[in-house]
Symmetry: C2
Subunit: 432 residues, 2 copies
């Protein structure tokens, strides 16, 4: 079976030239039906395709998926069917919607049960995330942060070029695109203050990231090699790793970021499979000094995914603030997963692994406001006359990702996050 | 309904004077029946009590628990029934097993379905842990680490007395007592080396901790106050937070511990409810300087739980290496949960929150080998003539916890962890 769906294939569903979802993409997600059920889905053009209905009508027969598997709140059980089964599923779906296939095309009476207009339905969290790790794998980002907060002459810490540095994140606060997140409150300590103070963060920031979702669960004590890593990865999403810089600065020594990072972490709803990204595989930056054997790898494990970040102040038009690319990653996903498991740490289906902020070499490719406005010294001007060093209340952050060559565009869609003002009351819990 | 079961109550199940599980304890756990099913259970003396069988026989009627709720792989759904319902359940169980109650006592023909000898059955993970946070709340431990690794004159970092410093841990690698964990492999960099090296950790250590398990799940954006915190806490377990010191030292700057802490984290199987610990509530250390308002609290939130750590080399007798107490905690559990959620971070039922290593003021009360052997400078001698700076291969670490006054002993049982040699092969995965 081919990993890649023939780039010349066309669908009988109309697909605009600039659509992220041609018949070659076939991503996976979860949507809420007009009746309120949650279902596994894929998407072609602006049509969300209900896999449960498709299965009920027999279109997925013989693949080994029971229809009920697609009547689900998360994709975890679908992913657990294995990469080979999911590859066969994508191939089948492409076949059903290929323009010359009349089987469903010529039965418009059932289209209403299977096809939903994307803008009319709500997408839900695609997976139940068990554990979430955030890496720190962009050399440009790590260097920028090192210059700003430590020593410009020794911006990278000694371990950085020897391992994909990462830390455990919070799973509970990962939510799907469309989230409205209150500005977090917490402790901060201004440089000139004697004591810390408590209040809403003044430095809420985005971090532009791509995250991979794992699709297998080896036992505790098992390590995954770089050669095996991609077999354990189901696909990728866009990820806005919201951060409160002032909270982070005061709390993070010595045990790392905590409340600065767990008030809301937002992902895009469609998981783009590695198979769909295959045509956009590229080599990564040269790693110097040579890495330890367990981090060495064969082949290309970087992907040419163009990434845009836009900020939309309330009732204003969106403005591009960053254009970056996932291909800049110094440490690739195979190395990240090999590192994560080299000590025997077990992974589960649905775990999420963020890339870390993806910055390029120029200031218009930096993946956070911290870097773009260079610690507040270079505020970004907006058409309405306002300036931004960080994110303002009621700003909406929009991230988009897409791969493009002369024949094909495979996109991620977008991840949209609105920042609301801090809540006034500390608690809304009523005793049981 | 009383939180506390009358200390003078006796059970018709025999309970030795030094048992951790008198009729006043009534903890919750999950065990595997001889038939291989997993069931919710409690324990009195050396008898594990199958709550599913108890419910099937009608003993739990009228409490609102469907018997099937106890035929479960984890306690999460039982806990979700709420604190009031679980309090009524404990009270009912105490009534059934109270010595004068003949209802079950005088029907020995069904005892075999309900009562199992603890040493003959296997305990399983009591909850599915969604997220796990590890705090760092013992002032003695933080000071010891600061003296050893940073500056003896400024051992505590500036933020330490202003917030319960914590970090996100890995949930997937939390396992239950009885675990056999391979020594982890990873990167370390000896002080005199130019480059890092790869191999088995030479500094595997235990950390003596107590962890609380949450029992409610407020929405993202909600904060839990110190006054509300205990309503959100279901109970406590003992926790051996295994650590690889040499891996930690090289990896942890700037984002915190990662692979040093996620190769196996071991908890005791019985969750001891806060209600059972009520008679052992004590005040904590005075907090100076005063903490910010959101961390202030009324009442006592420390607990007098005596804690022992023993090490048993293979084929040798166990030796006590530490006697500490949970009451030493500088930051209490109400403050920890208020801090965790002050930014709106959501918690879930079954989440776990570790105390951090619990050290006392004297060297025989230090909660890790790092401190007991003072960074390797004071090795611990064993009866077989061996010495230990850290944990050796095939050593078993045993932690015990218990509260005791003149009338009552409420115990946690134990958490037992065996360290096996590092695995030779990096991978045992076979392609699908």
């Amino acid at each position: 079976m081919n990993k890649v769906i023939d780039p010349s294939l066309k669908s009988w569903i109309e697909v605009n030239q600039d659509s992220d979802f041609p018949i070659q993409n076939i991503p996976f997600g979860i949507f809420k039906t007009p009746g309120g059920d949650s279902r596994a889905a894929t998407r072609i053009g602006d049509k969300v395709i209900d896999l449960y209905s498709l299965a009920l009508h027999g279109f997925l027969d013989g693949l080994g998926f029971h229809p009920d598997l697609f009547k689900c709140e998360t994709l975890n059980a679908v992913i657990a069917s294995g990469k080979t089964a999911c590859r066969a599923l994508r191939t089948r779906i492409a076949g059903i919607f290929e323009q010359s296939n009349p089987l469903l095309r010529d039965h418009p009476e059932i289209h209403g049960e299977i096809l939903f207009l994307a803008e009319t339905i709500q997408m839900l969290m695609p997976v139940k995330v068990g554990d979430y790790t955030d890496f720190y794998s962009s050399i440009e980002h790590a260097t920028n942060v090192g210059i700003m907060f430590r020593d410009p002459a020794n911006a990278l810490l000694p371990n950085w070029k020897h391992m994909p540095v990462g830390y455990h994140g919070r799973s509970s606060s990962i939510v799907v695109s469309g989230a409205e997140i209150h500005r977090p409150k917490g402790q901060t300590k201004p440089d000139n203050a004697e004591l810390p103070e408590f209040g809403p963060s003044r430095q809420v920031d985005f971090e532009l990231e791509v995250a991979f979702i794992t699709g297998r669960q080896p036992d505790l004590g098992t390590s995954v090699t770089t050669a095996e890593a991609e077999d354990h990865i189901f696909g990728l999403v866009l990820f806005n790793d919201l951060s409160a810089r002032d909270i982070q600065k005061w709390e993070y020594v010595p045990l790392g970021p905590f409340l600065a990072k767990n008030f809301g972490s937002v992902i895009s709803p469609w998981i783009i499979t590695l198979d769909a990204l295959e045509p956009f595989r590229v080599s990564g930056p040269k790693q110097e000094p040579a890495v330890l054997p367990y981090l060495q790898f064969d082949g290309d494990h970087n992907f040419d995914v163009q990434l845009d970040v836009l900020i939309q102040p309330e009732n204003q038009r969106e403005q591009l603030v960053c254009h970056s690319n996932y291909k800049y990653m110094y440490w690739n996903l195979a190395q990240q997963l090999a590192h994560q498991t080299v000590n025997g740490c077990n992974i589960n289906i649905g775990d999420m692994y963020g890339s870390g902020t993806i910055s390029g070499t120029t200031s218009d490719s930096f993946g956070s406001m911290l870097e773009i406005a260079w610690k507040g010294t270079k505020p970004v001007k907006f058409p309405d006359g306002t300036e931004r060093k960080f994110i303002h209340d009621n700003d909406t952050i929009i991230m988009r990702g897409y791969c493009k060559n002369e024949n094909l565009r495979i996109g991620f869609g977008e991840v949209v996050t609105k920042i609301l003002p801090a809540t006034i009351h500390q608690s809304r819990i009523i005793n049981q």
